[in-house]
Structures are given as C-alpha cells and as structure tokens.
Symmetry: C2
Subunit: 542 residues, 2 copies
C-alpha cells in the first residue's frame, strides 16, 4: 500500500477532483449502481461470524495519524464493513421494518450530498424549504384532508407550520407530546407557561398533582422515552393491557376518569396505527371520542401504518386518524425512502407555535425558517426523497405496494395455518404477523394437559429462539422474534417469530422456503427432542 | 411527456433495475461525479428569484395520483429544486457553517443508501454497530484521552456507551442535559428518580425550589430548546452577559452560589467551544473549576470548535474540555462530513445508563444495541462517513484543514482592518469573524459626537442589512449577518456581517473580491448617502 501524504495539495484534490473511473471507489459505485442485488450478494458475506469477531476489526480507539488514499480505504470498507453488514435488500430479510429501496434513491442520495443544504434556515436551503413545506402539506392532506383554503393559507406561511420533518418516529413522537404538553400548560395571566417556567411551576400553577399519558402495552418504547425526556417520568406513561393487541377505548376512558378524579392531568391518549410487534391498529375513531370526553390531546403513532392511507382499499383501517391532534409517520418505512425521514403533523396549523423559538443570526421572527418550530436544528434535505417517491410512485403506485404487502401477509398467514408444525399467533392487520414452531405432536398435549402448559410453552419458547438464531446465522433468511402475551394461552407470554412483509421482492416461494428451513432447523434442536420426550411421556402415562 | 402506468411490473422494475446510462438521472449523476463545481455552477441559478416565486413551484398540496417516469421527474428536480438551491460548495459562500465536502462522500452516500442499515439494533447493522462504537471511541479519546485500559473495557461493552451519534448538535445538547438531569435527580431509597417519577416529584423529593442551567448569552438556541423540552423551562436557562463574547467564570460562580442559596439546584454549566456567532471559546478550564465548586454537571458545546482538537497547534484553545462531563461535537461542521452527524460524548462510561431503556423485540437487556441509550430510535449509518474521513484525512490532514481555516481568518481580519471603509467587530479565535461597513468619513464623527452614536449606528445597521441582502441576491457571494452587543460601543447592539472561513477552496482573492463587492454595493445605498449627509451636517455645523 502506498502512503498518502498530508499536504494541502492532496487535500485540495480530495475536495475538487473525483476518483478516477478505474479506482476502487468508482468500481464499487459502478457495481452498486448497475446491480445492487448482485453487489450485496457478492460482498455481504452473510455468515455466522460472531459479533466479537467483527468487533476485532473495529477495535482501534485512536484517530489514525496519517492520511490514507481513498482507494485503499474503499478496499477496507468493503472487507471490514460491507462484508459484515446485513443484506436488508434481500427478499428473504423479512424480520424488520428495513427493506429494499427503489433504485432512484441511490443517485438522489448523491445529489443530496452534492447540494449539502441545511434546512434549519432559508439561507442554506432556498428551494428545499418550500419543497419540505409542500411535502408536509401533501402528507397532511393525506391524513387530514382539510380544504384548499386551509392549505393555501398555511402551506408557505411564516406564522405556521403543518408539522416537521425529523430523523425518525421517536423524535416525531417526542415533538408531538412536547407540543401537547406546552399547549396543556399554557401561559395564563402573569404565569408564563411550562415552556418558560418549567413543569414544576406549571403543575403547581394549574393545581395538577401529576400528568400522565395513556397508551396500550403495545405502545412503542419511544413513548416511554418521551415521558422521561419531557419530565413527566416513565411511570406516568400508563400502558394499558391489550389482550387483543389493541387498546380498549372503554378501558382508556375508565382509567382516564379515574386519574382525573385524583387531580391528575391526562395529557394525551396515544393510539397506534400499526404496532411495531404485530402491526395492529387501535380503534382510532373511538379513541378520538375518549380523548374528547377527557379533554386531552389525541396523538396517533402511525410511524408504520400511516402509508396505508395511500390505499383506497385499506385506508379505512385507520378511520379516525383525521381526528388526531398530531400524527407521527415514517417515510423510511412503508414509503420506501432511505433511513432518516420521520414526520410529525399537526391538525391545527397553530399547534407548533407552542414550541416556537427564535435566534438572532437565524430563525428571525417572521422568517420562514423551518428550524423555528422543530426539535432538531440543522437537518439535511431528506424531504426531497419523499417528494421524488410520491411523484415517481404516485398515489396509485403506493397503493399497489401497500395492497400487495397486506395480501402477501394474508397469504403467509394462511400458509402457516395449513402447516401442522406451525402455529399462527397474531393474524395480520397490515403486513405483520407472528407465529411459532409448534410441532404437531405437541398440539393435542398442549390442550389436554393444562397443568403442563407452562412447561410446554417454555420448551416451545426455547425452540423458537434456537430456530431464529440458527436461521439468522445460516445467513439465507432472517425473521425476528419477540415475546407476546396472547389471549389463546390466558395471557401467558410466549416467544414468537415476527415477520414484516414490506419488501416487494419477497415472493410466495421465498415464504415457503423460510418455513421449510425453519422446520428443518427445528427438528435438529434439543428442544424438539425434549418436546418429543415430554409428549411421549405424557401420552404414555395416561 | 409519456405517461407512466401504476403496475406491479413497473414498480418491480423501479426496485430491481437502475435507470439506463443515457437516462436523465444517470446524466445528472455522471455530471455530479465528474465535476461537482461545474454541475452546481451550471444548474444552481444563483439568482434574485424571490422566495415567493420559488414557492409557486411547490404549491400543490395533494399527493400526485399517477406515477411519473424517473427521468421525467429528474428533469423536474433539476428545474425546480436544484436551480433554486444554494451553492454551499462555492468558495464565495462563507456565510454559514455549511461548506464544500470532499468528493468521496458522494459515492459513500450511495453506499450508505444501498446498504440501508438501521443502527438502532445489531440485527440490522451487524458491522455498523461496532464501527459506530469505534468512531465514538476515537472521538472520545481525542477529547478525553483516557488510557488504553478504559477503551478496552468500554468500547464494545454491552453495559456502557461512550456517547451517541445523532442527527446534530441540538439532539446532542438535549441528550447531554437529559443525562445530567437524570443523574442529578437519581433514584434514592424508595424514590424512583426523575426518569421514572418525573421532574415535579423529583424536585419535591430532593427539596429543590427549581432547577437551572447556566451559560453565556452566546449559548446556542438549542440550549433554550433543551431547557423547554426537559421540563426546566426556558426561563431557567440563565444566560449571563458576555461583553467579550466569552463567559466570565467569576460571574458564573457568583450567580451559581446565589441561586444555590435560594434553594435552586444548578443542574449544569454549559461552556461553549466555538460560539455560532463569533467562534469564541469560553475559558473551559476555569469553568470546570466553577462546576466543581458548585457541584454541578459541566457540559461543553463544541459542535463547531471540537474539530480544533485535531490540531496540535490550536488544540490548547480548548484546554479544560477534557474535564467536561459531556461534550457535543458535529462532524458535519469542521470534519467535512455531510449533514446529520452529531455526537454527544460522556467522560464517564456509565453516564448514559441514566437514560437506558429496553424493549422486548429489540434492545433486549445485555444486547449491544446502540438504541438502548440514545434519544433517537432508528438511525442510518452516518458514522461510516466520519470513519472514512478520519482515515482518508488522518489527524494530520484534519490539522492542515483546521490550521489553514484559522490562519485564513486572521488574514481576513487583517485585510478588513486595513480597509478605511470597514470595521472589524470581533477578531477570530477560530475561523469566524464579524465586521461591518463603516465608511471612513463617519469614523471620526462616530467618536467625536457621542450623543449621535445611536443614530449613526442605526444608519450603519441599515447599511449592513442592505449590503448583505443585495450581495446575497446578486448570487456571487454570501456572507450572513447577525446582531451583537459589543464592548466598543458600550454594549450597544449593532448589526454585523458574519463570516465562516471553513471552505478550504476559499482563497485570499475571493476574500478581496467579497470586500470590493460589498463596498461597491454600499456606495449605491440610501444609507450611505444618509450617512454622508449626516457627516457633512455635523462637521459643518461645528
């Protein structure tokens, strides 16, 4: 390896001249652009390399003293980083919400970096600011469907913003609840409100004992983070039981009234449109009624499910979302945009003024700088990715994508139900479902010996864990796993495979293969043998 | 324009096949890659197009119904978006902290999107997680210089994290103060701490009247946001006067003791290493003493100045930063990484456990998932950009970049001082400085007629605003402006040009040109004429 020298000439060249077409980095790029699937399947060595082994490649904790040639470094990136990455583009990678992306995002990513705009202020994002406002308007209209007059009045107004782009659903949820908190404890008379005077003074001023947020046990962990960050405390995120994976409005109402009687302010009810674990949707319309009855903010976390609104066939699943005071959506999930495209939207264009702030050198009063009412400061122009996607797919294209995902999930659920050695745990509402290996020989035993249920389920849990791990390590397919309380087993918590069928490249054949592989692995495990022994023992002893 | 059809075949192609080499998008990409400066100078129509005119291009608020061909859309992006963007790569764009980036980030941005990893959890970022931990370790070592044993024990440990990557300095500052708040109000006996029980209960439990953060008036506006979000209230961010642009340790100590006597808890002192407006650095070592005396958290916001640590020549400017409990740095500033690479670091590897959280399907206890102690959830692999930069530049390369920026700022400050019609307002500590047009004929008048000082400074303010706007609209050069209290005029607030000299492509000639253009514009303004009249009037009347 030649040695690079740290000189201004060398640096100047790095800033002004691209690598030659024959250079390693250019080769990587060409391969990526020409055939991403091939690039990944050649370079990502999906393997059982342990994490500890990978860590050895990343063990140095000192900044390298001397410079390196770009091409030498590109070689290292390939060997150390790409080789040990996860092939999220693969149609057999159906374990998480990260999937294949359309090709046009590759050159667009480059354009984004080439333009390097900063959306915190107009002066560094002249056209990107109006573009982002337009994109927020489009999604706002998709969710709320306000009339033309509303959008004409607010879309590009310096005094309003319909929401904010942010790095992801977590920041969106925090932003929504931040706005809700500041609106619930506003300035009044000589009191300057929670935003200025803090939560302690505000609760005292308004005479509240405490402040809580209601959601179901399936609420995303970011809600607990939000409760912590915003000063409410994680304990004040009340997560109600949801035996059927969705929040019971009556239970929420009852709990809310009970808390109110204790002098506790219910800040918000959070409904979920597409839970992370099973893809269920809370009864949003009824929860909107409950929020109204309790006089609290209604937030909908539609980070996953929001894109369903593109589908005329399935959008009714989210009925009531248009009554939410705020909504979280992630374009990097079912809108197939690269990571980093979260959004929060507010029904009322005035809402985000509850967190508005100014500074001298930017965000001057009356400016249209987007940074004046966002939690984040400097931000890149990710809105362009969604802008391009909405134009290239169109609503119709997104509808096709959403519909085929949901229908694929129904197909897979049917397929699982037909297998004697598998058990469907949660049916798909959107394109998520959960299931487990449950050998046919144990099925009857499980229902015949209720006092053995815990023991059997424990063995089945071990089996599921073992299969999930080995399948992941084999590197061909990936499903994730989680633990769920299920009505079927009297709310016993069981371990399940979790599948997200958002990758449009996943076919029925892939799904068949995945089940075959799982069964094949399962039969070789100790847990399988133990279950067999237990079944034999129980049925013989009877 | 042909019409695209929404069909699964069409969509499948968008996910599996790149645009042809002759397509518009491919052409854009080739041009970008071959010569970024040329691409931008041809397509960015730096112009006086008004924001309102641009907004007309982005006025539609409905999701387009029908799909569009990628190439048709690429054409639209060029015409509407790129044409009206800001050329931040240009060496004459010296008004903000956004500058030219090295070329290798263009293909790397593509690789990042192609890999589409999600760093919230190992399962979707197998190699990126260790890489990010390594990068955090390198920067940690740069700041704190702990010994080898420390890094070997903590770098890849599931029980610790040395900090977090995040979208930017704002999230980093909030994260740091979140940790500080939770550490200051910890669980104790049966009390479960602020994280679980909330700020209201915690302040009561610990018997504090209130909780405040101390910083100077030059503290970034994100600190005020942090005070709001975290429930302290913006009013409880105490911003102390700083006539010389830096925080006086004695003043901080005095204020802190005074507050403590009132039963108010001083949560943290925030020192700034590179203020956004003038690039000044607080006396960090002395502030560390004060924090120690007050028994509070010491946070350093080094979003801008942190990269100075790469320079052996200038790193002593930040002496004392190694005593900070937490530090914010932005790699997308002086480390020349694309937007979205903020970091927070903690001296104590255990600190971030004050905000640790778990969830069933990810972030299981004992896992190395980075998401367990970050404010954000899903995140992309931006750490790769800094990893590559640190290897390709090396510490030596970064030192050259930092040194030449600072030295260029000194050169420019001298140049301004030599011009009879300009006035240097703040000298550079790092590569920022502020100045204004102050015609020679008014200089003497300004000192001779103290009772006219306000009036003259008001006219000079108008002059600076007019020149800054017209220069920006002319589209050749861009400096920003802000308002500063300056000791020279008895703390009167004056409007100044603000210059950030981070772009390595900016030459002495560019700087000369910028001054010439400003003077040329200034002479044509009404303010110039009014100042002339006033000067004549005053000197004649004497």
């Amino acid at each position: 390896m030649n040695k690079a020298r740290a000189s201004m000439e060398h640096l100047y060249r790095v800033f002004t001249a691209p690598e030659g077409r024959e250079s390693k980095l250019a080769q990587i790029e060409q391969h990526l652009s020409a055939n991403l699937a091939d690039f990944l399947s050649r370079h990502v060595v999906a393997s059982n390399t342990s994490l500890e082994d990978i860590e050895h490649h990343f063990a140095d904790f000192t900044v390298p003293e001397e410079p390196q040639f770009v091409s030498d470094h590109a070689e290292i990136l390939l060997e150390k980083l790409v080789a040990n990455s996860v092939n999220t583009y693969s149609p057999q990678f159906i374990g998480h919400m990260t999937s294949a992306l359309p090709y046009f995002h590759l050159p667009l990513a480059k354009l984004l970096v080439g333009l390097n705009q900063n959306l915190v202020k107009i002066e560094t994002s002249k056209a990107f600011t109006p573009l982002e406002r337009q994109v927020l308007g489009m999604i706002h209209q998709l969710v709320y469907g306000h009339n033309e007059h509303f959008y004409r009045a607010h879309l590009h107004s310096a005094n309003y913003s319909l929401g904010a782009f942010c790095s992801g659903g977590t920041i969106a949820n925090i932003s929504a609840l931040w706005v809700a908190r500041n609106q619930a404890l506003p300035p009044k008379g000589s009191f300057r409100g929670v935003s200025q005077s803090g939560l302690h003074a505000a609760l005292k001023h308004y005479g509240y004992e405490d402040m809580v947020i209601l959601t179901s046990k399936r609420g995303h962990y970011s809600l607990s983070k939000a409760a912590d960050v915003l000063g409410l405390g994680r304990h004040n995120l009340i997560t109600l039981p949801c035996p059927d994976q969705t929040l019971d409005p009556q239970l929420a109402l009852q709990k809310g009234l009970e808390l109110q009687q204790q002098g506790i302010k219910v800040l918000a009810i959070v409904g979920i449109a597409g839970t992370t674990e099973t893809g269920h949707i809370d009864p949003l319309d009824e929860l909107a009624d409950v929020a109204q009855q309790l006089g609290c903010h209604f937030h909908v976390d539609a980070a996953w499910g929001g894109a369903t609104l593109f589908s005329q066939k399935y959008r009714s699943l989210l009925k009531g979302i248009e009554r939410a005071d705020s909504v979280t959506l992630d374009a990097h999930k079912q809108m197939y945009v690269p990571m980093g495209a979260g959004m929060v939207l507010f029904k009322d264009a005035n809402a985000s003024n509850a967190v508005r702030h100014h500074a001298e050198y930017i965000l001057r009063e009356g400016s249209k700088d987007l940074g004046a009412s966002t939690l984040e400061g400097s931000r890149n122009g990710m809105a362009m990715m969604l802008y391009a996607s909405m134009h290239i797919f169109g609503r119709q294209g997104y509808q096709l994508l959403i519909d085929q995902s949901i229908e694929k999930a129904h197909y897979f659920a049917d397929l699982i139900s037909q297998q004697p050695d598998f058990e469907l745990i949660t049916k798909p509402t959107l394109c998520l479902l959960t299931y487990r290996v449950r050998p046919d020989f144990i099925k009857e035993v499980l229902s015949r010996f209720p006092d053995k249920r815990d023991e059997i389920n424990q063995l089945l849990d071990n089996l599921t864990v073992a299969v999930q791990k080995r399948q992941r390590e084999a590197g061909k397919s990936f499903v994730s796993r989680t633990r769920l309380a299920t009505g079927k087993y009297h709310q016993q918590v069981v371990t399940v495979f979790r599948v997200v069928l958002a990758n449009p490249l996943t076919t029925a054949e892939h799904l068949n293969d995945i089940l075959h592989e799982q069964l094949h692995i399962a039969r070789q495990t100790q847990s399988w043998t133990r279950l067999q022994n237990l079944a034999n023992q129980l049925t013989t002893s009877v």
